[in-house]
Symmetry: C2
Subunit: 268 residues, 2 copies
């Protein structure tokens, strides 16, 4: 249930059934946190959305129009989750996109549901992520792998699941990026074949540099979890969350995550 929704600028809860987002997942989305009436990291979210449009050849929305619609759906709200969806548009015969389509956009505010406090209990997901460098990093609408991954456990059995790709590399959690700390340095998957270049992930990388913490983006393997002194997840809405366990592995260290959250003023 959304609190407010605009579709192509008009109050509506319906999209045309020939929208290519519905027909093929041919589009992109963003999920951002509204805090004290302001959308956190709005520039980063817009940037990723526009990068995704460029990658998929989707006509980007006009930035000023988009920002005006965001202001409209968030007006008067203090806290919430902003969701933006941009699809290639309506119609077109089969998979082939017609060149001159104007994209459809949905701008909606949803209630913010506080997730449980404390460090997270993770599990390994059985389902593997396919590889496709052309789709890697962007937040596109083809999310069946994540839907099936989250179906693997019942609510309460775990807080999140870590996902491997078909070659066995660690990519991400089902809806968060992952960082491990080893000898004081941060490592996060490079996301060259899959995963989403998270807005909070980028903020953490920048903040770490300011704190003189080494960060590397590189292939990550299950072994790197076994040798990590600290593990945390990042997500634009839920911030930085320390990890307490991953199946039988356990961590009590949370100091790097705490320093980064403080540096990014995420406690609001």
């Amino acid at each position: 249930m959304s609190l407010a929704m605009l579709i192509n600028g008009q109050p509506s809860q319906q999209i045309p059934a020939d929208d290519r987002g519905f027909q093929y997942g041919d589009g992109l989305f963003e999920t951002a946190l509204l805090v004290k009436g302001r959308v956190r990291f709005i520039d980063d979210h817009c940037q990723r959305l526009f990068t995704g449009c460029a990658r998929l050849g989707i006509a980007p929305p006009d930035r000023a129009t988009l920002l005006r619609e965001i202001a409209q759906v968030t007006a008067g709200a203090d806290r919430g989750v902003l969701k933006i969806i941009v699809t290639r548009g309506s119609g077109g015969r089969g998979y082939r996109p017609s060149g001159a389509m104007s994209s459809n956009r949905v701008v909606a505010l949803h209630p913010f549901n506080q997730s449980p406090h404390g460090a997270l209990r993770l599990r390994w997901c059985d389902i593997r992520l396919g590889r496709n460098a052309r789709l890697a990093g962007i937040k596109h609408l083809n999310r069946l792998e994540q839907v099936l991954a989250q179906s693997e456990w019942r609510e309460g059995e775990a807080d999140e699941g870590l996902m491997l790709d078909t070659e066995g590399e660690v990519v991400c959690a089902t809806s968060a990026n992952v960082f491990v700390v080893r000898e004081g340095a941060l490592i996060t998957p490079d996301l060259r074949f899959n995963g989403v270049q998270g807005v909070m992930r980028a903020q953490v990388i920048k903040a770490a540099a300011k704190l003189k913490l080494a960060v590397s983006e590189e292939p990550l393997w299950p072994h790197d979890l076994e040798t990590a002194s600290e593990v945390f997840l990042t997500n634009a809405v839920r911030g930085i969350r320390s990890v307490a366990s991953l199946d039988v592995l356990q961590w009590s260290e949370t100091s790097v995550a705490t320093r980064l959250a403080t540096a990014l003023s995420l406690s609001d």
Copy 2:
């Protein structure tokens, strides 16, 4: 533009924006040919749809209701393309599907556009298909790879594109299955990691057995195209189509495709 559309049984052209097909590509579709007022291979299409629902844990539509709605949108029409979309339903927080969702269904009739006659000119697609055995074979709504593949050439430059997966296996054309003939025997990719178990593909395999033609489903490689005496594509709407060329490779042989099309009475 559809000629007639029912959404959950009601005449409509709009779906709710919180539909999970729109939000995540969390659903399935079927595209079938209406010939002389009858949906060709309707049982096969329904069977694949129900198999897909079972695989994804989506509540299947009631079969009698679905068939009644198909009869309703095709009533009075002689020829056309029937498209069915079934999604997991509306709402649910994030990727996690709630257990008790009732699926949404769209049943629509579209005009049939005759594709050019004659043997097809194919090209290799640059984009590779990711691997995911959990999604292989079913006709799910995560189709960005196919959309990007069809964006690789302008209309008229080629008729179809053949797709490799990340390991270099030949999987399919962007919207058709592929068969090669070698020493009189048929080979088609086994689709264990990706691709769609086409309705026409299954009919061809059955018809070949009746004609005493050997058929094997196995990994197919670019080399198998180079050594093929005949190549054809299959698709539920467009039938069996002989291939004349694939980049520099050329074929003039069409006899196996012709025998199969005759056996399946596809000339209507």
